[in-house]
Each structure stands twice: as C-alpha cells, then as structure tokens.
C-alpha cells in the first residue's frame, strides 16, 4: 500500500492523496485522494509567478463568479473546475473533483473488452472516429444520435459560460472534454489552461485537429510577434465547431485528401490545417473532398460526404457550419459563437424524429423537410402520417409571425414551456416550474392527439372562434390546424402540417417548402 500524503492547501483546507500516479497529462501528474472524491494534479515543471497568479484566480475569483451564483450548481456537472492549490516537494498542484462515474467505460471495447479499456476514461476521440466506433467499441457504449446533440448542447453551453466571463479555454479538444454518450453527459476538463485576454496569455496552442488556422499559420513566429495568433475566444469558437461537427458526423471537417506538399508530410499538415485549410464539404471548391476509394469499410458511410452530408444536421445547424468552415474558417470574426451553437442545437432537438427501424444504430434523425422523410443513417422511410408543428408568436397583439422553429411529433413527444412561450429558453436558468411539460402527443386509433396537461389557454383557432380544450382534455391534430397554446405574453400559436410519409399522399410539398423558405429567410 502506497503512502498517503497529507498537505495543507494554500486556502487552509486539508488535502490528502495516495502517493501513486494514477494518470499523466501533457503537463501534469495526477494523484487520487484516499476516498477517490477528488484528485491532485502536480505540474511537472516549476510554474512562474504569472502562472501561479493565474491558477489562484482560477480556483478563486473565476470559480466563485461561476459557482457561487444562483443556479451555480448547474455548472458543477459541466466543468471539472480546480478548487484549491497545494505545494509539494517544490511542485505546484491543483485539487479538482474526481470525474463522475459515468465518464468511465462500463463495457469497454468489443469481444468482452479485448483491449482492456473498461474502467478507463471516456476520451472523446473514441466516439468521434467512425473506425473506433464501428470496429472497436462495444455498441452499448455508443449512445444514439440524440445523445450527441445533447452532448453538443452541454459543451456549447459550458463554453458560452466561459466566454461570457471573458475567459477562453484555449485547448478545447476531445482530450479535454469528457463525454458520456450513454447518459448524454459532457464535462470540460483541464481548466487550468484558461486564458484571460490581456492578462494571462496562453501557454499551449491547442491540440492538433482543433487549432484554428490562423494559429497554425503563425505558429513559427515568436510569441511576442504582433502577427502571431494565440488561443483566444475566437479560436475556441473554431475548436467548438470542430467538436460539434465531429460528434455529429464522426469525421473531421478539414481532413480531406487534398495534398499541398507531396514531399513533406509535416508541411502538408501545416498547410492543410493552416493557411490552406479547406472544408471537406465546401460547396464550390471540391478539391479537398474525402476520396471514398482510399477508405476502409469501417469508416463508411461516415466519411462518404455524399452519403452522409453535413446537411443532414438540419436547417438550424447548417448555416452555423457554413459560417464556421466556409465564411469564418479564415475570418475569425464570422465564426458562430457558443451561444448561437447552443440555441441551434436546442432547436434541432425539436426536429428529431425516432427512426422506425428498431435496429438503426443512430435511433434518431433530423426531419429533412421533405414529404417523404427518411432516416439518412439507415435509409428507412417514415411510414404513416407525420404531424409537424410550426411555431408562431405575437410581436404585437393578435399578429403572429413564424419563429423559425418547428417541433416534430411522435408518440410521447412533449410540449414544454419553451415551446409554449417564446420568452422561455431551456438553459441553465430554466425555472423548476418551467421544466414540467404542458402536454404530450400520442398516436391512438389512427389519429394523432395532443393531450393537454397544464395549458389553461389551449384552444383550436382554426375555425376563427376558439374551441377551448382545457387541461385534462385532448385535441386531434389535423392539417392546417391552428392551436393557441398560451395567451400570456410571448405565448405561441402552432400551425400543424401533416406530412404524408412514405405510403401517403404527397399533397403538402409546396406548402412545407414555401413555409420553410420563409423561415430560412427570417433573420
């Protein structure tokens, strides 16, 4: 049994750890407390005064700003934030909560965990790679496509919070974000690299695959050179976009087959991630496409951008990917913010439809606005009539305009307060009363029904005069029906569109498409 080291942290707290290294990062050696509730990570090299000052702010002011506010507890699941500083044998260490149990593999790799990763950390790279997913990981570890949307929301929300406080993470990567697809959890780790613009410069440039092109391009310059680009909020935005793309599509947005230097792979790499970085799905420049003939079977269909194009992520995410990888790839100011990602991902959840193929590996897909919806992952067509709700809200009394927001209907789909009222948004500030659903949908005897649980104002307005449907009642969904969900300020009206599905009549194509056009053009 190894020794237990007992120390007094700089804040006076008693810190204990078992004197055996349980893990090593690029800069730190990690030890665990005897009760395994927290870890202590010691920097291998001596930290200068600036670095010490930065760390003391991270465990002090910045942490308090984040966690000691109303709703601060919410962030404890999204960050593994250091809370004390210790010194031992001349080395500086930080104390952090241990990762929660769901961030360790429960089943591990295939064939009875043949690689022995059960109990190891769920490093994001396992899940962001088509080959690792299909060849090596136990399918029970993979989660559904819905899990990755939720993971994206949590990462975007956490990054948004950092940026709102004026902080940049500076090294977002699948190494520094733990994910749990089984429970749809995500947590940002390695907070100690935080960058505070103008105050604490970065000491890492990032992790390959996630470093912004302008940082790669100027990496050869001296740190003090004004032309040198260092990690910042703008480069975090690039890394966040790459993470979201990789978790939804299991491939890298810039790793195509365009060769920039045939004789030097390192230079080729620097050019393709830096100066000449080009989106593999660029609409007009196809020179960096991923060539399918070079791929292994295990990487398909994900690396075939014709089979699984980024447009399957739907109408809210596609414009952000365009800004991240087309307009803003070399123009940092155009990159979407973490806040925009969060909002678009949350809305995309409402466009999800469960795949009717029970064996579909992804289980969920984004409704493609067509009259014959089809799962893009397994190819199964939707059978039957499919109601889609278009959300409208009033900017002035009685005049409702579209919110560019749709809600797909499926059995047990819920209508939540953030659907009912445009002033409510499902984020960390959501009040407990707004976490309860107002109603739900069910398919019963060949009809779709909305069952009202707690919407006192619910009424069918289709005929002009309202037909009330008080809580406890239900209303059958019909094409072109207008339902008032709430009379409160910000309360919404939904217009029902009934999509025919594979076996029905294609009567609504024009209607839906023009509706969609209008929505897409709204800003």
């Amino acid at each position: 049994m190894a020794n237990i080291v007992k120390l007094k942290a700089l804040d006076g707290r008693t810190v204990e750890f078992v004197d055996t290294i349980i893990g090593q990062g690029a800069m730190k050696d990690v030890y665990c407390s005897p009760d395994k509730s927290y870890v202590v990570a010691f920097f291998r090299t001596k930290q200068n005064a600036q670095s010490r000052d930065r760390l003391s702010n991270i465990v002090g002011t910045y942490r308090e700003k984040l966690f000691n506010q109303q709703g601060g507890d919410y962030w404890k699941n999204l960050f593994c934030w250091p809370d004390s500083i210790v010194e031992w044998n001349g080395l500086l260490g930080i104390v952090m909560p241990a990762y929660q149990g769901h961030y360790f593999f429960q089943h591990g790799s295939k064939n009875g965990d043949n690689f022995g990763i059960k109990g190891n950390e769920k490093e994001g790279k396992w899940f962001a790679s088509a080959k690792n997913r299909s060849r090596y990981l136990d399918p029970r570890e993979l989660g559904s496509w819905q899990s990755y949307l939720t993971i994206g929301i949590k990462i975007a929300r956490a990054v948004k919070r950092l940026h709102a406080a004026g902080l940049a993470h500076s090294d977002l990567s699948y190494k520094n974000v733990l994910v749990d697809p089984v429970g749809s959890n995500a947590c940002i780790i390695d907070i100690d690299t935080l960058v505070v613009p103008q105050r604490y410069p970065p000491d890492v440039v990032g992790t390959p695959d996630f470093i912004a092109p302008e940082v790669v391009m100027t990496n050869h310059l001296n740190k003090e050179d004004p032309k040198r680009h260092l990690p910042s909020i703008a480069t975090d935005r690039h890394a966040l976009s790459v993470l979201i793309y990789m978790y939804l599509l299991y491939r890298h947005p810039l790793r195509g087959d365009k060769v920039h230097d045939v004789s030097d792979t390192q230079r080729d790499e620097t050019l393709s991630m830096g100066e000449r970085a080009l989106f593999v799905e660029h609409p007009t420049d196809d020179s960096n496409r991923i060539r399918v003939k070079h791929l292994e079977a295990s990487e398909l269909p994900w690396k075939d951008t014709k089979k699984v194009p980024y447009t399957i992520t739907g109408p809210y995410l596609v414009p952000l990917f365009n800004r991240a990888f087309i307009e803003g790839l070399h123009d940092p100011a155009k990159r979407p913010s973490a806040d925009e990602w969060e909002q678009a991902l949350v809305k995309t959840v409402d466009l999800l439809q469960p795949c009717q193929n029970a064996d579909c590996e992804q289980k969920w897909y984004v409704f493609d606005n067509s009259i014959a919806p089809k799962c893009p992952f397994c190819g199964t067509s939707y059978q039957g009539r499919l109601p889609v709700l278009n959300l409208y809200s009033a900017r002035k009394q009685g005049s409702y305009i579209p919110d560019n927001h749709r809600l797909m209907v499926y059995t047990n789909q819920s209508l939540f307060p953030w659907h009912i009222n445009r002033n409510i948004f499902p984020n960390e500030r959501l009040a407990p009363k707004d976490q309860k659903r107002g109603g739900y949908f069910v398919f019963h005897k060949d009809s779709w029904w909305l069952v009202n649980e707690r919407m006192p104002d619910l009424a069918d307005m289709t005929a002009g005069s309202p037909i009330k449907c008080p809580p406890g009642g239900k209303v059958e969904l019909k094409d072109n029906q207008k339902l008032l969900l709430s009379k409160e300020e910000g309360g919404r009206v939904v217009v029902v569109q009934m999509v025919a599905g594979a076996s029905g009549q294609p009567s609504l194509i024009g209607n839906i498409q023009s509706g969609l056009q209008k929505m897409l053009h709204r800003t």
Binding site: Q24, F115, K125, D203, V205, E299
Partner: protein, 211 residues
Amino acid sequence: MRRLPVYLLLDTSGSMRGEPIHSVNVGLSAMITALRQDPYALETVYLSIITFDIEAKELLPLTPIADVTLPDIQVPDSGPTFLGAALDLLVQRVDRDVIRSTAEQKGDWRPLLFVMTDGSPSDLQRYREMIPEVKVRNFGHVVACAAGPKAKLPPLAELTDTVVTLDTSDSSTFTSFFRWVSASVAFGSSSAGVTTPVGLPPPPDEIQVVI
C-alpha cells in the same frame, strides 16, 4: 487517413539472454496494450519489429496496432550484434511499406524509429554505411536506447541526437522505456506548447538522455 508507422529495432544478441529479453517481451506487450487503449494510436499507429543478432529478421511486418499478435522473442546462446544489417533491412522495409504522398493521396506520417541495444554494432562498417541511408528516409524521430552497462553510446550518437541510457536491463527499466515509446507515439494527439516545438515527451525518471 494518414498512418503513423513505428519501427522497433531490438537487439536479440546472446547477451540479451535471460532476464533482459524476458523484460523486453513483457515491456513490448505492455506497450501494445497501452497503444490499443489510446483511441488516437489505435486509429493511426502501424507497428513493425525488426530483431537483430547474427542476422536481421523482420519479426513483425508493418501491422495496424489493433491486429498485432506478438511472437515471443527468442535469443541465441551467443553471437554478434548485426545492427548494420538491421538498418539495411529497415531501409528496405521503409521503402516498401511507407506510403508516400502523391498528388492524389495523402501519404503516411513521417515514421518513428526506436533502436534498442545492450552492446555495440559488430558490423560497424556496414552500420556506418547505412546511417546516411536511414537519414535520407526522413524519420520523424529516431531514438536510440542503450540498455545496460555494456551498451556503447558513441556509435548510437552517430545515428541520432536522441540517445537514452538504461542503467540496468531489468524489467522495470524496460517497462518504463516502452511506456515512454508509447507516450511518444501518442504524443501527436496531445496539447502543443506555445514555445516548445512539437517533440518527444520528457523521458521517465529512470532514463537518462544523452545528447
């Protein structure tokens, strides 16, 4: 997908008999386990093992790390250390196996080479002839490891700037060496510093780096 070819050249001359080679076998298998547990290495690393004693042998042709089955390395009773022959074989294999970039296809990453010996090359002239050949193959890193008190440093220093020494040739030092090899191989996926160039991670405490 670029591959990362990793070549291990291992001394199997007579002096490695007994505990040293046993330690190498244990260390190698621990290294492969570690690489398979790293999702980045698992996707990219291809491993080849060349052994050398009275002859150079390709013990393991370049194989994806997930598919490697490790043969137990045997050692003859006695005999010379033909490191020159091993470099010769290495160069042939690199020319045959490593995918070069073309206008159409991304080539492999620059390969990594780890050489481990407990003595010195018996075929010194051939060894010296092969060094320039190795150098033009443009390896990403060449690391030479001098294991035990009889390993000679000067010939290794002709091959590479990075020579590490293991004071003893017991299992714990070999284990830490192979752990370092796996860390170096996986290093491409970790954070890069603002001032330090991308290079090898610091070696473990048990190893001394001679420059």
